[in-house]
């Protein structure tokens, strides 16, 4: 049943600019590093000679959390707004489909969209590295980890955002919250690594990457469950 809702949702986001946004995130992050390396190519390659790929990944990582939080926020809000716009909730939820399926489909779609972003980030990283002539000894595993582990670690944020965006008609609060999370995440890595906004960055950095991704998945599932229960009981006006 969730697949039916998902296929309907895929149709509904057509022409909404969501796919553009999904591409814009990773392209932006890569473009920033292209600029960084373009401006001081000689200095950087001399300074970090021998670990060019590693340095590139570290540089990209700095912007991954903020891009993730902004992406999570915008995707959630846009997906929810497709229904909020003309209050299509009342039409959708009067159809023979369970609310869990509706909620689950929205979550699945946002995961799908953001996963596409992550893939683009991986491809873009490789392309940039090759373009900068860092050699063909490409650290594929590290690139995959950089692209996907922070994403898994940001699942709690995604579940929370989606829940808030879907249940509140006024998107000002969830969007503000999401943007704030993005901004704070730039400055918070000095705090404890278990500070939730830090999970994405420590999902790549440090010795316990998988732990943070796992914690993200678990915590995300928990928030998703609570959100789904609330969505199920909610009166639709």
């Amino acid at each position: 049943m969730m697949l039916k809702a998902l296929s309907a949702d895929l149709l509904k986001i057509r022409g909404k600019g969501i796919w553009f946004l999904v591409a814009l995130g990773p392209v932006g992050v890569i473009a920033m590093q292209a600029l960084n390396y373009g401006l001081r190519y000689d200095y950087l390659t001399k300074q970090y000679a021998g670990r060019l790929w590693e340095t590139l990944l570290d540089n990209i990582l700095m912007f991954v959390p903020i891009a993730l939080y902004l992406g999570v926020t915008l995707v959630s809000s846009l997906l929810a707004n497709v229904e909020h716009g003309t209050n299509a909730w009342k039409q959708l939820l009067a159809l023979p489909i369970s609310r869990n399926a509706v909620f689950g489909a929205k979550f699945a779609l946002s995961v799908l969209l953001l996963a596409v972003s992550c893939c683009l980030l991986a491809v873009g990283t490789i392309a940039l590295g090759l373009l900068l002539k860092f050699g063909t000894d490409i650290p594929y595993l590290a690139i995959l980890r950089l692209s996907f582990l922070p994403f898994l670690a940001s699942f709690p944020a995604l579940a929370l955002m989606l829940w808030l965006c879907m249940t509140m008609k006024n998107q000002a609060l969830p969007v503000t919250l999401g943007v704030m999370a993005g901004v704070v995440s730039v400055f918070s890595p000095n705090l404890s690594e278990w500070f939730p906004l830090n999970w994405p960055i420590f999902g790549y950095e440090g010795p316990r990457q998988e732990l943070f991704a796992g914690a993200g998945l678990l915590c995300g599932a928990l928030i998703l469950l609570v959100g789904a229960i609330h969505f199920n009981k909610k009166d639709v006006d």
Binding site: L11, K12, R14, G15, V82, N87, A94
Partner: protein
Amino acid sequence: MSEWVIETKGLSKRYRGRYAVSNLNLKIAKGDIYGFLGPNGAGKTTTIRMLLGLIKPTNGSVHVFGRPLHKERLKVLRKVGSLVEYPSYYGHLSAIDNLEAIRRILDAPAARIGEVLDIVGLAKEARRPVKGYSLGMKQRLGIASALLGNPELLVLDEPTNGLDPSGIQEIRELIKQMPKQHGITVLISSHLLNEVELTAGTVGIIRHGELVFQDTIERLQRQAKSQISLVVSEPEQAAAMMREQGLNVRLSEPGILLEDASDPAIAGVVKRLVERSHGVYRVEEKRKSLEQLYLQIVGEGGRP
């Protein structure tokens, strides 16, 4: 029991201590067009949302097709098409894509989209984005969406809101056909009496969340009793004379109003007036319109 397509028992919804709908016992028969009437804010939409499982009743139960709605919501909704309040649509999509988004969830055959567009007369405009539609066209798209799943019950909340007279006429004809051609039971809500009078077989009138009338439209019409108005040269003396005869008389400009008078009684009155040299200018029947009756029911809440 299952002879009722919709049956509610003691249905109530409370918002912050105030009952929006209280103790509603609706009974809607199969193949009927049920007009659900009431002024704005009387609880019509709240009731309809409860019938569709969009909001949960505070008390009471809803049975649709004889099944308890809270337990078998999905099974019930499979056979229900609905349009709640103003139409919902995805403005950036064409009518076809809007219907397709719903069709994917209903699992209806793809050909059904063309059929419902034909039924509501939108086939020509179906490829334009819906945000450029007039309100009437959006309303018709809403009805097309409701028909998409071949429902046995159609729930339409104020379907003619915002339509122009010809649009209202069109929708009315469309709704009238439903039971005849497709065997569909229709629940249609409105705050306009003549709307319901022209389509419905049964009427339920709701006021401050309570059902104050539920019967056939003929019964309602019969209650709109007639009065006889007499315009005479000396109304006060004439009225006094009629009261002596034991008639129910009321002076009102420009004449006298006689209620519940039989034909012989009126003939007697006229004869006596002529005998006593009153000038009888006019004797006419005045029907209390259904509109007045409705306003009376809605205004006082009492059964007329």
